[in-house]
Symmetry: C2
Subunit: 525 residues, 2 copies
Amino acid sequence: MVDNYKIQRALISVTDKTNLLPLANALQKFGVEIISTGGTGKILSDAGIQFTEITEVTGNPEAFGGRMKTISFQIESALLFDRERDAQEAEKLHIKPIDLVVCNLYPFEQYIAENPDSDKLIEYIDIGGPTMIRAAAKNYRYVAVLTNPNDYDSLIEELQQKDGAVSLETRLDLMAKAFNLTADYDSVIAQKMDSLTGNDSVRFSFTGGKTLRYGENSHQSAAYYRASKSASSLYDIGVLHGQELSYNNILDLQAAVQTTARMSSQGCAIIKHNNPCGAAESSVQLRAFELAWAGDPVSAFGGIVAFNTPVNLKTVQFLNFHDKANKKFIEIIAAPAFDDESLDYLKTHKNLRIVTYTNAMLEDAYEYRIANNTLLKQSKDDQLYSKMEVVNGDAIDEKQKELITFGLNIIRSIKSNAIGIVRRTPEGEPQLVGMGSGQPNRLNSIKLACDKAKLNLGCSTLKGAGAILLSDAYFPFEDNVDKSHKEGIDLIVQPGGSIRDKHVIERCKEYGITLVFSGLRHFKH
Amino acid sequence: MVDNYKIQRALISVTDKTNLLPLANALQKFGVEIISTGGTGKILSDAGIQFTEITEVTGNPEAFGGRMKTISFQIESALLFDRERDAQEAEKLHIKPIDLVVCNLYPFEQYIAENPDSDKLIEYIDIGGPTMIRAAAKNYRYVAVLTNPNDYDSLIEELQQKDGAVSLETRLDLMAKAFNLTADYDSVIAQKMDSLTGNDSVRFSFTGGKTLRYGENSHQSAAYYRASKSASSLYDIGVLHGQELSYNNILDLQAAVQTTARMSSQGCAIIKHNNPCGAAESSVQLRAFELAWAGDPVSAFGGIVAFNTPVNLKTVQFLNFHDKANKKFIEIIAAPAFDDESLDYLKTHKNLRIVTYTNAMLEDAYEYRIANNTLLKQSKDDQLYSKMEVVNGDAIDEKQKELITFGLNIIRSIKSNAIGIVRRTPEGEPQLVGMGSGQPNRLNSIKLACDKAKLNLGCSTLKGAGAILLSDAYFPFEDNVDKSHKEGIDLIVQPGGSIRDKHVIERCKEYGITLVFSGLRHFKH
């Protein structure tokens, strides 16, 4: 196999004309014979670049409204024959090698977006392009194939460095790209054609696999990948400092930034075992951190902390890295950005992972789970409520609505059955003061949340604390109200929708509890 | 567009010769001219079926060690030209239409499995086949394309019914299959070629999307799909009765059958919000159900119940469907099979979903999560322990090891932090009597599990109950031992591995608690 293989003859036929001329110029400079087709050829001749019409090579006309342009014994032979084994046979058949194919495929999803009828759609399917690309890719030991205008520059550079030759390594890379392109192209077509037959199908492509040290546990191997075509991905998260993220880190980080992304003002959330155990907003970032931490100061240790605004030094000094007795250990700190002083401070902790994210990284419309060769797809739970209907008690004001919205955003991030208790601090800052997660029985979650809230607020009852109890799903029975009342809760928010709503409302009336129906359940598993 | 289009000329070139002759015979009977290539032609002529050599049509030799056989202006034109718009042009160019392509592609993954060197691998990439298939599929308005021997029979039947013609609907279906085949083919090649360049990539294909009523919550749209190429999938679960499964049902069902699949004897597990709240084994199925139910008789209502053996009438009568006051409502009952009497009984409950599964449906090696355009892949957590090392106390016997194994299987299905308490009934049956799930703090989980166990066993301490406490991860501090001791626990199983193990062991020694290290953590989120 030849490493640096000299390009002597190139076939150029592109739909995307970006960067075409610099490439053609470079090829001409190295004396490469260019073969080209209609539209591409027009641009070349306008620019004064010489080329051979493809019909001269194939001996066939361009036919059938452009359906037949390149496919021919001559072109595909020129791409496919083994330059060593088949040299004599090629000569006998008058086949001259083509060493470079430049060809791209118009993104089929863009045709689909035009919503054409099926006859029109079919017309768009390229047959000759993929054939050339695949033939050239198969014979990468001798042939280079350019399928993306972004790759032209580095090829030109290589031609210049190698006196018109291309290395085996480059040809191999280009080959892999070529088969990814044809796989992507037919994947989009297959999904669309399935839909025409009434079959809903999904194809995914992920790339850039990074091996993780292990999965959820050390006896599980793991890796993570980026969705090939996505504009933005959680994969692109910036790790400014610390060890690489672990499997559990990535999942917790997702939970953390999804919680903070919806917060207003200066927001902070702390995640432990995929549940938010602390969350708060304040006009001062340090306060938000302190208040979030205070939501569960025991569990917060070793947690994942996320902010929704650029982080400053004052905030991170709360971690007391330089005070051995009061030092707070966390696994990850995530924010849109960090100022230099805060970074310097944080970097003094060797094992801390410092991570930046953007909200764009969270912008996919669907959630997917793959369970035993089954795919589950669902739209995201990104609506907090459909109403705020006071079904018992006095009307709620804007400040209360704000606090409820803060609470609902947290509730939807807690594993079901989920209960959250939120309040405003004396300074008016929204704070999560208790939460109950992952219980098979809602009463357990109420108990867990209330116990935590009482502990945090240092009181034996929540009466008068201005605490709002939020539930991810409706109360199935009045016992949930009884328990809440016993703990001193006087405002409950839940979706409503139980056949026993009437009884639940009645019980709230008895206790003088304000009950608000939000209209939307937020189960999360 | 013509609906029933008569087949007059067919091109057959197949690697998989299955069902070839019946198809060729049928085509011959309808007077279809068959064009064929080397290996396929040999079989046809041996069977006395007349055909035209492809070289006669193309005017080209088979060349370059078989790399060039079909690709030609003549063949692809015959497939691609528009039978109406391009009719005159085709006549002028001496192109006679080909109305049927029979072609398949040797599964590339099987070549890869042979572990060939990259030169050999490249040799296996088919260029002519996909070109023919894609050209025929593009022109499905006039051309039929058979890519799978399993489709020959129905095509023969259709030819017989329609006097040698094929309907538009069939051609459309075959077209969609064709593009799925070429997409699959290039997907496998792309992944393999990526790996040669050091890029770990993953491609998935799912099909047969069923729209679900909604996702985890009613404001989320949802659908589920089957992995296209898997031999077995949870998607294939049999719903014998009741409404279609919901999104949450499918996830809970997975958790349920993954728990029971590893049980021995007659096993039963009850899932609520994705956590097992009850589980037991017995030599009698009814007993297993009763004992599992007793693990959390409140939460079990509305739960998902799974068995690991065929279900009988005695077992399901425990649900008391005909006793209004004592009726037990559950969402799903799942088992490998149901006998007729049990089915008749269960079907009297209109809303109950009755579901059959096989262990084969659980046989995929990896778990995947897709989070914001990132794919997380990990091998399954299917090893229960790496050791059973008694680090304090007396040696444990086989019966205890069995019970610990039972417990570890459940622990790995509980969301972290997870604590499970198991015991043997006076009759010797392993039973889950308490569990704590989804807590940010392990002490919470211990408390939840012990409270439940005391309630279930009707005692104020677990002392002398023969209860074993299992933890999904190591005890970070001695307070976990203190709490367990206070509740009367005298056998603890946890993975070990903390830097404070020494102190934890020491504390167990003080209390006379037997401590077993299992060596494997079982985080689940």
